[in-house]
Amino acid sequence: MSIDTETARKVAHLARIEVEPEALPPLADALSHILAFMEQLNEVDIEGVEPMSSVTPMALKQRKDEVTDGNYQEKILANAPDSREGFFAVPKVVE
């Protein structure tokens, strides 16, 4: 599977990474090259094989449904680049 410039632009947007137009062709090449490496997986017979979804077969532990954490708004906001009146602040999203 080869990635063209338009697909590279879409992937960059999916990943929310700004890529300048002139950087798209080399990005497309790099991504195509890595995907070509992955094509080897097509040689494997995976008929009837279950995808591995957990490393160790174990049931997830359950605990009481109760509040164990919270009430530290200041700590949560302490590292924010911009916070105001107890909220994270972001550029305007609604006109």
Binding site: I3, V11, A12, H13, L14, A15, R16, I17, E18, V19, L27, A30, L31, H33, I34, L35, F37, M38, E39, Q40, L41, N42, E43, V44, I46, V49, E50, P51, M52, S53, S54, V55, T56, M58, L60, K61, R63, Y72, K75, I76, A78, N79, A80, P81, D82, F88, V90, P91, K92, V93
Partner: protein, 495 residues
Amino acid sequence: MTDLSKLTIASARDGMRAGEFTAVELTDQYLAAIAQAGALNAYSTNTPEIARAQATAADARISAGDAPDMCGIPLGIKDLFCTKGVQTQAASHILDGFKPEYESTITGQLFDAGAVMLGKLNMDEFAMGSSNETSFYGPVVSPWRRGNDTTELTPGGSSGGSAAAVSADLCLGATGTDTGGSIRQPAAFTGIVGVKPTYGRCSRWGVVAFASSLDQAGPMVKTVRDSAIMLEAMAGHDPKDSTSADITVPNFEAALTGDIRGKKIGIPKEYRIDGMPEEIEALWHEGAEKLKAAGAEIVDITLPHTKYALPAYYVIAPAEASSNLSRYDGVKYGHRANIKAGEGITEMYERTRAEGFGDEVQRRVMIGAYVLSAGFYDAYYIRAQKVRTLIKQDFEKVFADGIDQILTPATPSAAFGLGEMADADPIKMYLNDVFTVTVNLAGLPGVSVPAGLDSGGLPLGLQLIGQPWGEADMLNTAYALEQASGFDAKPARWW
């Protein structure tokens, strides 16, 4: 003054308990050594005040006679571990100035046991790399050189700062993390011991996530005994990590008898790869002979899907990374890009991530986004997860046949020069993980043991792969291999 080059965690523990030196004296000596080792770029943050306070507290516990094994032991902590109030950036620009309000479970356990934090250790950005060259802090320089050649070499990656610091006596032990080989490869490159435990043995809570189903933290130290001591302090069930296993942590040090008579050691034929240097092949053969001489039985085995481990890994790891790294958006912490008039939140997200992530991280996040995107999810991600099942089954079969551990080379070469791979395509760098990545995919424990030097005088390591939760037995075989190898080379000090 204690000779730091000869000191181990075990001997420091015994020396402090016997009153030969104090934790404060030891800590001061390490802080002085770190201050003179700027050329290595191993530490990204120094924490001398914390270290001295922890050492003072450790001395009080040692005097009172209730000190755990790690009490007063000076450690370096990989920058991937969240440490309360101390800069934690995963060596990325996007986490500029991040100071967690909480402590990772593992560092919390180590500090509760009395360990001393000397500082944070440099690494590849978000643990993505095999040479430490993707770090926003700049690469770590290995303390090792090829004889009199002054070419700067890589300590390996991603736990490159950890490996360099232990090897250069800038700490007695370091935490590392291993997603595809990031503990074992740098350990092999620098002549130290590195353990990747069974997935679920150590809590991942508070460790900056790369690929959640593969990430596992472990100790990087000078000897197998030290790895047993430190692993025990790091391990254990944590209700805050739902994948951490509620399984009793054995006394790993007590398992080190050196008696491996009757153990079956598998030699997988698929690990004999094209272009592997003869020195590595010879080292591997000698390692097997040494285990045989110690009473083990050497058995040829087959792990038929080995070849597909790297491509499967480079689907699964970037997929999980693209999801995990979506949290870096310039809102909650770290770097935020400036936007121009008329631009909005999408431009803010996209520019923040373009400015904040390095090239390799961007590449993997985009590959991950692609393989998870509609229409490709089954073709790439599900297929890779199925191949992963087959790789795990390969191991299950040989263990069911009675194999106790598997012996392989740790890396396909000795350390290479910084910048040497700059023009190589990314896949060439990925090949560094060819012997280690299967272990992460199968969730198994693995240990890299220094086993010899190459013709240029650089360390080479062998890897032992254990059964799930079989760290104690695996470390005992590693101990026997260590004893038989008698590796005691140290880098000549130039920094």
